[in-house]
Every structure is written in structure tokens, then in C-alpha cells.
Symmetry: C2
């Protein structure tokens, strides 16, 4: 997700277009590899080409699509190799955040959201509710980076997490329920709580590396169809 540029009310059409297209990509409505003319998108969104063009330019810099001059905008596929790259960066930045969070000396109260996300994952796993688990997992990682306090990291991770979410569209119902991963989450949180940056970093790095291996292997096994 990307933060709303205007919290009050009057979103510009450009922002609406960007958000709409982004949603349609994540929902699978604009599938990876598909092409779309600016004119079509504009018609479908009920606006002129101008805001659509502007939105598309932004989404291009965010790596969701490319503009191919007379072929339309192409929704970018995410290959297993891409996902490996994305996870590498995510791992580095989230681990950085875990370390910084530990150094900041947060109180138990400060970590309430983190704890809540962990509980929600436990609940979801008990109920075998994959959607709920994914949502809580997102919340945990997002909150972790927020606690790191580096706004640039937050922004970059947000953008990359978008892509991970796209991958999950495909993998969520195929992969085994990650019953063990909450042990890692708890360990990371506890390390942060007691100010142990080293363990927080090490544990989180291992956690993400393992997740990456599972996901990439799964994507490769699922075969050629790009996400």
C-alpha cells in the first residue's frame, strides 16, 4: 500500500488513477504480461488520458509496469528471480529496522501492535485462515519497519511489499501454513523488547531468508506462468 497523498478529501484524478490501476494489478484484473492502451484505461476509469498518463508514469518508476511506446502499458511479471531480489532487499531493510528498533528501547506498550499481529497470526493459523494470516503477517512486518524509524526504509519496503503481495496471490493457497514462523516473530519482538539489537537482526535475517527460500522454490515449482 502507499500512503494517501491527501488525507482530507479531494484526491486528484491522477492519484485516483494510480490507486485504481494499482488495485487492479493486485486483484489480478490487470494480469502480469498484459498490455493496455492509455485510452482504454482512461475510458474505463472515466477520465481523460492526462491523469492516466501521469499515474502510469509513477507506477512505472515503482516497477509495476512499463510503458512501451506503441504497444500500451505492460503489466510487469514477477519472476522467481525478481522475487529473490525483492526478498533480499526486504531482508536487509527489515533487519536493519529490527536492530534500530532494539536500540531505541521501546516499552512493551510501544510494541503492542507487534504483539497483536503475532496473536492474530496464531489465531489465524489455528483457524487455518490463510487470508487472515497473510494480513497479520503484513501488519507485523510493516509495524516492524515503522518501529525502525527510518522513513526512507518504510517507503522502500512498502513498495517492495506490494510485489510480495502479488506473489502471494499465487502462492497463498498452495504453500503449507507457516505454523513455525511465529516463533521467529516472537523471538524478534522479545529481542527488541530487551534491547538486544544483535539477536533481533540475526533472527529476523534468518526468518526472512527461510521465507525467501520457501517462496522462491514454490514459485519455481509452480512453473512458467509469471505472476
Amino acid at each position: 500500500m502507499t500512503p494517501a497523498p491527501d488525507k482530507t478529501k479531494t484526491l486528484s484524478n491522477t492519484h485516483r488513477a494510480a490507486e485504481a490501476i494499482r488495485q487492479r494489478i493486485f486483484s489480478g484484473d490487470l494480469p502480469p504480461g498484459s498490455d493496455h492502451l492509455e485510452t482504454e484505461l482512461a475510458d474505463e476509469l472515466g477520465m481523460s488520458r492526462t491523469p492516466v498518463r501521469e499515474a502510469v508514469l509513477v507506477l512505472e518508476t515503482q516497477g509495476l509496469l512499463t510503458v512501451r511506446p506503441r504497444k500500451g502499458v505492460r503489466i510487469l511479471p514477477v519472476s522467481p528471480d525478481d522475487m529473490e531480489e525483492i526478498y533480499e532487499v526486504l531482508t536487509a531493510l527489515e533487519s536493519l529496522a529490527a536492530g534500530r528498533a532494539a536500540e531505541r528501547g521501546y516499552s512493551a506498550e510501544d510494541l503492542a501492535d507487534l504483539a497483536q499481529a503475532i496473536d492474530a497470526m496464531d489465531t489465524a493459523i489455528a483457524a487455518k485462515d490463510r487470508e487472515a494470516w497473510a494480513k497479520a503477517d503484513d501488519a507485523f512486518h510493516r509495524e516492524l519497519v515503522r518501529l525502525g524509524g527510518n522513513s526512507r526504509s518504510i517507503e522502500i519496503v512498502d513498495r517492495l511489499a506490494d510485489q510480495v503481495r502479488r506473489a502471494r496471490l499465487v502462492t497463498l493457497n498452495v504453500r503449507p501454513l507457516p505454523v513455525k514462523s511465529n516463533e521467529d516473530h516472537r523471538a524478534v519482538m522479545e529481542a527488541i523488547a530487551r534491547g538486544d539489537a544483535e539477536v533481533a537482526v540475526a533472527r529476523h535475517t534468518r526468518h526472512r531468508d527461510e521465507a525467501r527460500q520457501v517462496l522462491v522454490a514454490l514459485l519455481k515449482r509452480l512453473g512458467l506462468r509469471k505472476i
Copy 2:
């Protein structure tokens, strides 16, 4: 720097505008904190508002400026705190790259550019040529990330390095010549050459952390004027 979108010849005005504005920011021609109307920029660039708007939108997502609805585009200042954030992310991603590069088992030949950058820094320091040193230092860090092989990292680091370059506009001629930093560079390169990822990561992390401390302290000492 940002890779040219079209290597052949026919750059669109949008790309030209983006590049021109970027250059004007780095050259100090558009100072941090200054405001500029789209119309003015368009006139100065000899084109209409449309490509300028598109360029500005992209630069906004890259964190160089913000569009403030009836006030013009504001060139963003880079505070010491901002620089601290930027260095944190740079450190994490460059260190990641150093580790991955070590794992890849590069030959001495593969590391030639790295070695060349190091030599250039030695030469520059002997000649007390700060400009040359900065250029070679840039080349070293850029090549390091390239060797890491993660294209997302490369892109992110490129964007952040832009900001570091802006800071150097102010600090380059004030700070002491970093006579000792090439020891770190050499150690990192040697660790990569012998495939020692752990040392490569640790040494580079330390190197960047020290550089960050020097730069941030200097920026704070130089005082209130934002970059």
C-alpha cells in the same frame, strides 16, 4: 545518476526535462527549499507544461522535490537527519551487495573496476584533489553494488546516492581528506576476492557507519542551512 531510458537518440521531452531539472538541482541552480512554478520551468526548458509536469511527478516519487498545489514545486532540503536515514539504507544495501559479491566468486579481472577506483582515490588523495576523490569514491560504491547483482538494490542505491552527492556539494571542501578510507575499500575488495562474505559485510558496514558519523556531524556543525 539515472540510466538513460533510451540509448539510441530520441529522448522524449519528458525525459529531457527530468534530467535537466535533476542536473539543475545537483548543480545548485535550483537550491533546496526554493519554489518554482511549472510554467516557469516549462519556459526555461523551452517546452510546454505537459512534459514538465510529467518529469516533476517522477522526481517527486524519487524524493527530490514535492509539488505543493498552488505554491509551485519545492526543491526538498536534505537535513542531517535525512542524511542519517539515507546513509543507514545505503549501508544496509551496499553491505548486502558486498556479501553477495563475495559469494559469487569473482575473479581478479571481474574486480578490475573496483581496483581501479581504489587506485584513483589514492592518486586523488596524493594530489589533494577532492573532486577526483569524490568521483572515484562514487565509482567504487557504484561498482560494488553492481557486483552484488541485485538490480533493485542498484536502482535504490542510485537514487539515494544522488542525495549524498547533493550533500557533498556543501561538505566536500570542508571535510578532511579521507586518507584512511581506502584501507577499508581495499579490505572489502580483498574479502570479496577471497570469497569471505562475512568480513566483506562487516568491514563495509563499519566503513559506511564511520563515514556517516563524519558527514552527519559535519552537516550539523555547518548549521541550519539545509542542503
